[in-house]
Amino acid sequence: MYTADPQYASNFVAGVDLAFMVILGISIFFLIALTIVMLVFIYKYRRDRHPEAIQNEGNNKLEVIWTAIPLVLVLVMFYFGWMGWKPMTNPPEEAMHVKAIARMWNFSFQYENGKITDTLYVPINEPVILDLVALDVLHSLYIPAFRVKEDMVPGQEKVMWFIPGTEGEFDLFCTEYCGLEHSYMFTGVKVMPRDEFDAWITDTTAAAPVVDTETSLADQGWEVLRRNGCNACHSVDGTKLIGPSYLGGWGTMRSVVTGREEREVVVDAEYVRRSIYEPNADVVEGFNKGLMLSYKDMCSEEEIVLIIEYLKALNE
């Protein structure tokens, strides 16, 4: 949110907002001044009040003045814009690294200890460096409250950094158009005190798929699907999205295209596994190749078993 709150949400807010003030200030001044002058002229020199125009072809002195003044003003604007931006390019040497991974259409964040989440958790008042990774197409990571944004380009290593300054939850959007569910590619940043963060990051129970007996296997399978963002492309209710729906798939026959060949396969454990690890090997007829990436690093064999349980449960 846009506020003049002295408790800045990140270390960049002050610089960026100063640039805003300066540029918007000058702009609004010119807008109002020029509009008023124009309206006054239109009123004062209306034809019925001023029937004879007084000819005047120009004035070189004036031309110079109104070239020079804006020139100085834009240089001032440039300067403030530059100063607000410069610190963004200089990440500190010592900082916590988080790998931010974007794919169609979700973010995931991987911490130094291997923990993966779909929301970004960071400790307050400490520099954080995000290593930006895009797996398929361009995405862009934008945290309005922090005034930071950087595109994520597949095949390029880029970083962004900030020091969060206010506790709380903030929005995090994808701002580079990336296809169907671009507008649903958002999540949050949670800024918390150091001790809370330490407790959270060492608590690995939430991340590993421990087979607990409390929740059913199928529910845990759903949890896996949700965490990996599969639902962006696969529906539960049979609607055709980017990929085939989960509903009514298990155990049936499917026509798939393997390479150039068409063939019929049964949806069994092997098929599901292959669809997750080598999604482009067999492409179900009517869907496009190349849209899904392998989830080999993100989804373990045990998790696939849970997913299969979920698919089976859907058939009931």
């Binding site: 805003f20 070239t67 095949g155 158009y177 296809g179």
Partner: protein, 537 residues
Amino acid sequence: MTSNDSENKGYKSYLEEDGGRKGIFKWILSTDHKRIALLYLYSMMVWFTVGVVLGLLMKLELIAPGQTIMGPQSYNATFTVHGVIMIFLIVIPGLPAVFGNFMLPIQIGAKDVAFPRLNLLSWYIYVLGSILVILSLFGNGPPDTGWTFYAPYSFKTGTNMLPAALGAFVLGFSSILTGLNFIVTIHRMRAPGMTWFKMPLFTWTLYGTGWIQLLATPIIGITLLMVAGDRILGIGFFDPAKGGDPLLYQHLFWIYSHPAVYIMILPAMGVISEIIPTFSKKTIFGYKAIVLSTLAIAFVGYFVWGHHMFTSGMSGTALYTFSILTFLVAIPSAIKVFNWISTMHQGSISTDIPFLWAASFIFVFLIGGLTGLVVGALATDVHLHDTAFVVAHFHFIVFGGVGFAFFGAIHYWFPKIFGRMYDKSWAKTGWIIFFVGFVTLYGPMFYLGMIGMPRRYFDYLDEFHGPNIVSTLGALVMIAGLLIILTNLIKAARHGEKTTEMNPWGGTNLEWQIPTPPPLENFDEIPVIEKATYKYD
């Protein structure tokens, strides 16, 4: 258009002189620059209607969070086709092809453009390109890449991106040929005495525009061909998996598309520079400064493309160079604004409808231009890039600028073109409704962008709801205004009161010194120009 009109007037106007052809061939085979101008006008009206409806659909979708009238795929296709139509089919060719074609030869005292048949061919190419764009709607579904066709998404999507890109490629040809034609016409066909610094300012802006069309358009042509190569042959120019660099695509795209925004705005500025002196009954203030600023915009405009890529990961050096160049290109625009307002000073101003459009142009252009400065600075653009703020900036300047100038132009030259007059009070009613709707529609988007709503979002969080409602209401108001304006004009073109008055507004350029509507070859005898333009004495 009855033929015995000519007997009363003693000459045959271009509307009656049909070259002995029949039916529609009277138009589509004519090489008369004035008829070709009208061909462009009519075909653009069709696309324009489509574009406006698509814009309205988007606003309706955005009236509330969640899905309201269409799904995400349709929304993505809608803004893509809306952008492609508006940019490539309406505002880039718009003013040059319609009013440039009609007025340029007349304003410099020529009988036609240098290559009349090439001129007609350009129109056919335009139609071909627009058909390709429309074809992209069928088959695998309309393209969903945004008008920017950013790689690598543009060759990953399964939709019909290729026909749309090819359409843009073909339209580029039309644009190049028009520019070429105008430049040669201006160099070779000025009437005796029509020296460079006696040329009307509209002609000057067409000259600047012509050069941009000629020298920038091929870049997008080749870029789209490369994308086609990536899609069809799998070459991998822009495919990161094959070593290509998606950022290079952005460079190439904007090397064209930034200068393209000046293709749009320069003729618009030209129109304003015509209207203001006429209705102030006063010589334009600082003629030479305006000419020089036109050339400066055309030239410096080539070197600022990187301001669309501030967050893409360019080198720091490139970032601040582009930022500073962006600020420099704003100066010549400022010079123009100051000169326009000074022209009004001590004038004798008639607030007829063309003048109202021109004055409101200055206001919305100021907003659009000044917010361009906000996104031109590095720190602020990092926050605002790809948010609703940018959408507001370019609607204010593209359609506030070019659209307002277009309406100004059509109201200004209407009697000359059609030999008929529209209803002035309806025109004013339409204008005020349109203006109010316009500001209500796009104003809230600045705020939305500042609080962080990304663009190309089919759905949004609840916190963005309020301003979006206002904006949609504004759209409805504006469309009402638009309907009034268009109905008034269409009605007038068909049944409006006939006029043969040569100079209804008291203008000084050559177009006001020939009969209304103009005869086939504009001038019986090529005029000899002695006076400077915009001279009132």
